[in-house]
Symmetry: C2
Subunit: 339 residues, 2 copies
């Protein structure tokens, strides 16, 4: 009985508040949306009535009437990867300041992504943020037709469905490789994941090779391990490439996990890093700063990407034509002790 009457509290309506305050529902609406369009006296009476009744404005009704949801949807392939966790954190932090909220979908297959997008569109979100630039044909069609603002993230390689934000994975790999070369390393290997087709990993490989080619160095010391292996793949890369080329003195890894695995292996061999062997990472995960010696790596600004993507959505909702359709958030080479 008591339960029942409490439940009712959440169904207090704008009309109820208006009645108690002795004003029209319009004034209640204005009081919440544009407080300065309401006289002080009216506002006070309305707020008092609202507090007394425990009124919580029904945003669903508001959405339907206004066509605005203040809701942004995001699709990520996984949460286990701290890059994506960082991106989500960046989106959330920004959206919260704007009074928006985040609808999150985890989709590791094109089918799951499509299903998430269908639900998103049904909810008439104000915008959608996707991970990467590879999407199913049907998903792309659906998004284009919907007219919903869409931001694709991480890669700067278009064409984009609508907008894009990221940084040059190629440039970052190129620059890190040049750092290795400038420190005197001549025989440098590359540790990636199998299959090498993943476009976000592929760009790094091309940047790596371009830097070596330009310096006239050998660029074919490549190893692709199984991603599921985690740290162990770093050890395997080291072993395989050393077998192929005993003069190998440095390894560029596509993720910090690989790099940490390679460093663990150097420790086992009692090889001082970087004197005997240098290791460069990618991602600047937590472990990069914690491991001994500290890992030299590329900071990939997941949080900045998330924040920028959210900002682009909000801007494109508020003004018809947003200024920037493609944003480069850059990257940073974090020099520690392994190169």
């Amino acid at each position: 009985m008591a339960e029942r009457s409490m439940r009712a509290l959440s169904s207090v309506t704008m009309a109820d508040v208006a009645r108690l305050a002795g004003v029209s529902p319009m004034s209640v609406s204005n009081c919440y949306k544009q407080p300065d369009k309401v006289s002080d006296q009216t506002r006070t009476r309305i707020m008092r009535a609202a507090a007394q009744l425990g009124y919580v404005p029904n945003l669903v009704a508001g959405n339907l009437a206004s066509g605005r949801s203040k809701l942004v949807g995001a699709v990520v392939p996984s949460l286990r990867n701290s890059s994506f966790a960082g991106m989500i954190q960046g989106m959330e932090d920004f959206l919260e300041t704007q009074g928006y909220q985040l609808l999150l979908a985890v989709a590791d297959t094109p089918e799951r992504e499509l299903r998430a997008l269908q639900a998103f569109l049904g909810r008439r979100l104000d915008g959608i943020i996707l991970t990467g630039v590879e999407h199913g044909h049907e998903s792309i069609q659906l998004l284009r037709r919907s007219g919903t603002p869409v931001v694709e993230t991480w890669s700067l390689n278009g064409p984009f469905i609508d907008m894009g934000v990221g940084f040059s994975l190629y440039d970052a790999a190129f620059e890190m490789t040049e750092l290795l070369i400038s420190r005197g390393y001549r025989c440098i290997g590359f540790a990636g994941f199998h299959p090498p087709a993943n476009p976000r990993l592929r760009e790094r490989q091309l940047g790596f090779q371009a830097a070596l080619k330009r310096a006239g160095l050998r660029d074919d010391l490549l190893y692709f391990g199984p991603e599921a292996l985690g740290f162990a793949a770093g050890r395997l890369a080291l072993e395989h490439l050393l077998e192929e080329e005993p003069e190998l003195r440095a390894l560029f890894c596509v993720t910090d996990v690989l790099a940490a695995g390679a460093i663990f292996e150097c420790a086992r061999r009692r090889w001082p890093v970087p004197e005997r062997f240098a290791v460069a990472g990618y991602g600047d995960y937590d472990i990069a700063a914690e491991i001994e010696p500290g890992l030299t790596t590329v900071r990939t600004p997941g949080q900045d990407i998330g924040a920028a993507a959210a900002r682009m959505i909000v801007e494109s909702v508020q003004s018809e034509r947003p200024t920037e359709r493609v944003v480069d958030v850059g990257y940073e080479i974090v020099v520690r002790d392994t190169v």
Copy 2:
């Protein structure tokens, strides 16, 4: 111009589909919600018309009319912690199978949590999942009054606002400590974080101490390091406690990150683990399986917690009285090579 007409596609309405199919809007609604209540012929005509127009049912209107949102909200303190990332993954995986979606808020303060909850309630979500059992007074009041199903997670220590799911942090620590004792370790330290007040960490300490007390062993070798230090705090714990008690032979750590730091320090000292020194972790993070030697730790089932919490919400929406209000998902001692 083309843009404008495409935008219109997303505002195709149920009435439009009904008109083209030559049926009433009611039949279109039934066709989507209860397909078997519609004749084959009618269904075919409706689906064809819907496809032709690119109709996407407006779930916002549906929510308003039906009072159901198929939306669950979750508040987590952070995404950097892989326990919470796992919990979210568990929620998402389950919710997706039920056609529900997840509204995510990151809130690291009671104020931010309250704001998130206000927005959640305004959207008339079907249920809300909270992290932990410590919440602001105002948040608790708001949730109680709303009548919305609420699940609190991780700890099994009530009283709960509504429902709870987790495992006994105390028991897990107790059992791990007993394992250390059974392996012959007599002088065992505890590595925690400062401040020791955090209730989720505190329960582990009490379990640790109870096991030692029961075995008649010393239970006051405690160290609390700064959480921000990450791995380094594990090294500090080792150093401080050894100074206090040179006979120290084992360390129980409240997270795997601390444990990994302690293992790194043992490696520096050339101490074989566990022969010279044993280390027990908590969390079973990725690094536990990857590090050398493999870390003996407690698997804390974040994903199970998320899935169970989501299930409890969905069940309590569908039936008036759900069977279970408090669910213990248990834990698991993962024995590897460091104890």
